[in-house]
C-alpha cells in the first residue's frame, strides 16, 4: 500500500533527471501504481483495514498510514483517473511538438501530484494530511501555470492565494487539535474531543479550510478560472481528483474527529451551502459560452452533492437506528457520487480537450457538427453527461438514487428538491453542448479540423465507460466501502 505513494514519487525524481523519457516512465509507473491499488483493495476486502507505522514508530509518536474501504476506493479512483489521463497526455505531447517543453514540465509535477493525493488518501494523521494536501495544492497550481497566457497566470495566482489562506487555517486548526488532545493521530483524536471552545474552533477552522480547497459555494470563486485555464489533461486531474481529495478529508474528519462536536445546525448549514452550490453552479454552467468554463462550473455544482451527505449523516448519528435506516445509504451515496463524478468529469475534460484541440476554439457555438467528425469524443462526452445528470444505468444515477432515498427516509425531503433540480439543470447545460455538437449547421470548417489520435479519443471514452460501469457493477464497490466504515452508526 505504501508503494502507491512511493512509486509516483520515485518516478517523479527519475522523470526530472531524464526528462526525455518522462512520458514512458510515467506510463509504466501509472500501470504499476494501478496494480498496487488493486492489490491493496483485494487485501482490504480479505483482511479488513490495514495499518502501516511509518518509521516503525507507532502513533501517537509516529505517523500511521491506514487503509479502510473508503481509502482503498479512493486509491482505485486516483489510479483509474490517472491512467487514462496519462495516456491522453502522452499521446498529446507526442503529437504536439510545440508543447514538448510543457510536457517535460508536466510529467514530474503530475507524478508528484498523484503521489501527494495517494498520501492524502492513506494518511491517518492530521498533520501529515496537511503536508500532503500542501504538496497536492502546490503541484496543482504549478500545473495550472502550464496553461496559456495571462489568464492561466492570474487564475493560478488566485488559486494559490486561496489555497495558502486555507492551509494556514488548516494548520491553526491542527494546532487546536493538538492543544485539546495532545495527539495528531486520527483514531486517537476521535472521541477525545470535549465540548470546549478550542474543539469548536478547531472544527470551524479545519472546516473552512477544507471548504475552500474543495470549492464549496461561496468559496468556489477560484475554481472555474483555474480549472478552465489549465491544459485539458491538467483540468481533468484537478477537477476530478484534487477537489475530491479535499472533500474526502472533510468527510473523513467529520465522521471521526469532529463527531463529538458536530451540531445538527451546522450540518444543515453545510447541506444548505451544498444545495446552493448545486443550483448556483448549474445556473452559471448554463450561462457559459465556453466549453471548459462550463465544465468547470459544473464541478462547482457537483461538489455540492457531496456536502448534502453532512446533514443526513449527522442526523442519522443523533437518531437511534438512523444509521441503519439512512445513515449508511447517505454515506455510500455521497462517496459513490464523488467517484462517479470524478470519472465523468475527467472524461468530460478530456473529450473537451479533444474537441478544442481539433477545432482550435472552446466556444460552444464553434462545435456544431462535431459529432460526425469526432464520434468517439462526442460519445465519451455523451456517456459522461449521462452519469453527470444521473440517468440510469450510470454511476451518477446510483449515487443520486441513494442520496434521494436517504433524504426521504430521514424526513429531510428538502434536499431531494436540490438533487432533482440539479439533475434537470445539468441536463440543460449538457444538452446545449450535445445539441450543438449533433447539429448539422456549419460544415465550412471541416477541412480545417486538425487530426487527432486514437489514444487521445479513447482515453476519454474509457473514463466515460468507467463512470457508466459504476452503475452496472454496484455491489463490489459498495462492499469495499463497507470495510472499516469510519462511523459507528447507532
Amino acid at each position: 500500500m505504501v508503494a502507491a505513494i512511493l512509486l509516483p514519487m520515485g518516478a517523479a525524481c527519475v522523470a526530472i533527471l531524464v526528462r526525455g523519457y518522462a512520458a514512458r516512465i510515467a506510463l509504466v509507473t501509472a500501470l504499476l501504481t494501478a496494480a498496487v491499488s488493486v492489490v491493496t483493495a483485494i487485501a482490504v476486502v480479505r483482511n479488513g483495514p490495514l495499518e502501516y507505522a511509518m518509521g516503525g514508530w507507532r502513533a501517537p509518536l509516529g505517523i500511521t498510514l491506514r487503509v479502510d474501504g473508503l481509502s482503498s476506493l479512493m486509491l482505485l479512483l486516483s489510479a483509474s483517473v490517472a491512467v487514462p489521463v496519462f495516456v491522453y497526455a502522452a499521446a498529446h505531447y507526442a503529437r504536439a511538438r510545440s508543447d514538448e517543453r510543457q510536457g517535460a514540465d508536466f510529467w514530474p509535477l503530475a507524478l508528484l501530484l498523484w503521489g501527494g493525493l495517494n498520501g492524502v488518501f492513506l494518511s491517518g494523521d492530521v498533520f501529515n494530511q496537511y503536508v500532503a494536501v500542501e504538496l497536492t495544492s502546490l503541484a496543482a497550481v504549478a500545473l495550472v501555470t502550464l496553461g496559456e497566457g495571462d489568464a492561466a497566470l492570474s487564475a493560478a495566482l488566485r488559486y494559490l492565494l486561496s489555497t495558502f489562506a486555507a492551509s494556514m487555517f488548516y494548520l491553526l486548526g491542527v494546532g487546536h487539535l493538538y492543544a485539546v488532545a495532545g495527539t495528531l493521530d486520527i483514531p486517537s483524536l476521535a472521541g477525545t474531543l470535549e465540548a470546549e471552545a478550542a474543539s469548536y474552533s478547531a472544527a470551524a477552522l479545519i472546516t473552512v479550510a477544507l471548504l475552500f480547497k474543495s470549492a464549496l459555494f461561496p468559496l468556489h470563486f477560484w475554481l472555474p478560472r483555474a480549472h478552465s485555464a489549465a491544459p485539458s489533461q491538467v483540468s481533468a486531474l484537478l477537477s476530478s481528483l484534487v477537489v475530491t481529495s479535499a472533500a474526502y478529508l472533510f468527510l473523513r474528519l467529520w465522521t471521526t474527529v469532529f463527531v463529538s462536536v458536530a451540531v445538527p445546525v451546522v450540518g444543515q448549514i453545510i447541506g444548505g451551502l451544498g444545495a446552493c452550490a448545486i443550483v448556483w453552479g448549474s445556473l452559471q454552467a448554463l450561462r457559459q459560452q465556453r466549453l471548459k468554463v462550463m465544465i468547470a462550473y459544473s464541478t462547482v455544482a457537483q461538489m455540492g452533492y457531496l456536502f448534502l451527505v453532512v446533514p443526513l449523516v449527522t442526523s442519522a448519528l443523533s437518531t437511534p437506528g438512523g444509521g441503519a435506516l439512512w445513515g449508511e445509504t447517505a454515506w455510500s451515496g455521497g462517496v459513490y457520487h464523488a467517484i462517479a463524478h470524478a470519472l465523468a468529469k475527467a472524461a468530460l475534460f478530456l473529450s473537451a480537450g479533444v474537441i478544442v484541440g481539433a477545432i482550435g476554439t472552446d466556444k460552444i457555438v464553434g462545435i456544431s457538427g462535431i459529432a460526425r467528425q469526432l464520434p468517439v469524443a462526442t460519445y465519451a462526452f455523451g456517456i459522461a453527461s449521462m452519469s453527470l445528470i444521473g440517468l440510469p444505468p450510470s454511476g451518477g444515477f446510483v449515487a443520486k438514487w441513494m442520496l434521494l432515498t436517504a433524504a426521504f427516509k430521514s424526513g429531510q425531503w428538502w434536499w431531494a428538491i436540490a438533487i432533482a433540480a440539479g439533475g434537470l439543470l445539468t441536463a440543460g447545460y449538457v444538452f446545449l453542448v450535445l445539441g450543438q455538437g449533433l447539429s448539422q449547421a456549419s460544415s465550412d470548417r471541416d477541412v480545417e479540423l486538425k487530426s487527432t489520435s486514437k489514444a487521445i479519443e479513447y482515453s476519454a471514452f474509457a473514463l466515460a465507460v468507467a463512470a457508466l460501469a459504476l452503475g452496472v457493477r454496484v455491489a463490489e464497490p459498495l462492499a469495499l466501502l463497507r470495510v472499516g466504515l469510519p462511523i459507528e452508526m447507532p
Binding site: L17, G55, G56, P60, L61, G62, I63, A132, L138
Partner: protein, 315 residues
C-alpha cells in the same frame, strides 16, 4: 508584573505593530522593510519561547532570502507610491466590527487553551536513545515524523519545478543582475562566502545535538547564493540544467532512498536501525540541505527573469 513580562509585552507589541505597518504602510517599500523587521522580531519571539531551532530558521530565511525576494519584487511592482488601494466591499464600521469580533474570538479561544496536553513530550524523550540524535526537534523531524519531512522536501521540490516551468522558452532561470556593485560589497561578499559555508556546515553538524539542522543550513547557504546573485555572480548559472535538476531533486530522492535502505535492513519505511540511525540521518540531512539551498536560491533567482527583460517597463 515582573521584568520578564514587561519584556514579553514590549516584544509582542513590537511584532504586532510591525505586522500592522507591513500591510498598511502607505509606501510599499516601507511596508516591505517593516516586513523584514517583522521576521527578525519573530525570531526573537522564538528565542523567548524556547525554540532556537525555529529562531535560526526564521533568521536565515527572513533576513537572507525572503527579505531579498520581497525587496526585489517591490522594486518591480512598487510603482504604487502614496497610494495603498483597498477593497471596499463593506462599510468601514462594519468591517471594523467584524475585525474586532474575529480578534476577540481568536484571543478568547487561545486563552482557554493552556499548555499542550498529553504525554507526547515524555514519549519523545523516552525513545530518544533509539533515534540516534540528541536534539529532540531533529528527532521529531527526521525520525518520528520523518515521513512528514519527506513530503515537506517534496513541497520545496514542487515549488522549484513550478518556477522552472514558468520560464519562457530558451530562458535561463538564473538572471544576471546588471549593475556595478560597489567594490566594498564585492569584497565583503568574498569574505562572507567561506563564512557562510562554514556556518552552514556547523549548523548541519550541530543539528543532531543542539539547535540547527538541514533547513537552517540550507537556508544559510541559499542566502549566500542570493547575495552572489545580487552581485551579478549567480552560482546557479555555473551548473548545467541537468546538474541543477539533480541538485534540486537530491534531497527528496536521497530521503526516499535512505528510507528504502531501512526497509532492506528489515524495518519499516524510514525505520533506521539504532546502530545506523545517526549516520543515516546525517546523510539525509546533508542532501536535504543541498536541495533546500538550491531551491531557495532558485526561487529568488528566477523571480524577475521575465520582468528584467523589460527593465522598469511597468506603467
Amino acid at each position: 508584573m515582573t521584568l520578564e513580562m514587561l519584556f514579553d509585552m514590549a516584544l509582542v507589541g513590537a511584532v504586532v505593530v510591525a505586522a500592522a505597518y507591513a500591510i498598511n504602510a502607505p509606501v510599499l517599500i516601507a511596508g516591505v522593510f517593516v516586513y523584514i523587521v517583522f521576521g527578525v522580531l519573530l525570531s526573537l519571539v522564538w528565542v523567548r519561547l524556547g525554540a532556537p531551532d525555529l529562531a535560526i530558521a526564521e533568521a536565515a530565511i527572513g533576513a537572507g532570502i525572503t527579505g531579498a525576494i520581497v525587496l526585489d519584487a517591490a522594486r518591480q511592482m512598487g510603482m504604487e507610491r502614496r497610494r495603498n488601494p483597498r477593497l471596499r466591499r463593506w462599510p468601514g464600521w462594519l468591517s471594523w466590527a467584524a475585525t474586532a469580533a474575529v480578534g476577540v474570538i481568536f484571543a478568547g479561544v487561545f486563552l482557554t487553551v493552556s499548555e499542550g496536553r498529553g504525554d507526547l513530550p515524555q514519549r519523545v524523550q523516552a525513545e530518544l536513545p533509539r533515534v540516534g540524535v540528541e536534539n529532540e526537534v531533529t528527532a521529531v523531524l527526521l525520525s518520528y515524523r520523518g515521513y512528514d519531512t519527506w513530503f515537506e522536501v517534496g513541497v520545496l521540490l514542487v515549488a522549484a519545478l513550478g518556477v522552472l516551468a514558468l520560464r519562457a522558452p530558451g530562458e535561463s532561470p538564473a538572471r544576471r543582475f546588471r549593475w556595478d556593485p560597489p567594490a566594498v560589497a564585492d569584497g565583503a561578499a568574498d569574505m562572507l562566502v567561506p563564512g557562510g559555508i562554514l556556518m552552514a556546515g556547523y549548523l548541519l553538524w550541530q543539528g543532531s545535538r543542539g539547535p540547527g539542522g538541514a533547513f537552517q543550513a540550507g537556508a544559510v547557504l541559499a542566502a549566500i547564493a542570493v547575495l552572489l546573485t545580487l552581485l551579478g555572480r549567480p552560482p546557479i548559472a555555473r551548473v548545467s540544467d541537468r546538474a541543477r535538476d539533480a541538485l534540486l531533486v537530491v534531497g527528496f530522492a536521497d530521503f526516499l532512498l535512505v528510507g528504502l535502505v531501512a526497509v532492506t535492513l528489515g524495518g519499516a519505511l524510514f525505520e533506521y536501525p539504532p546502530a545506523w540511525a545517526a549516520p543515516m540521518i546525517l546523510v539525509i540531512e546533508s542532501a536535504v540541505a543541498v536541495s533546500v539551498a538550491v531551491t531557495l536560491s532558485l526561487l529568488f533567482a528566477a523571480g524577475g527573469a521575465a520582468g528584467d527583460a523589460s527593465e522598469g517597463g511597468v506603467p
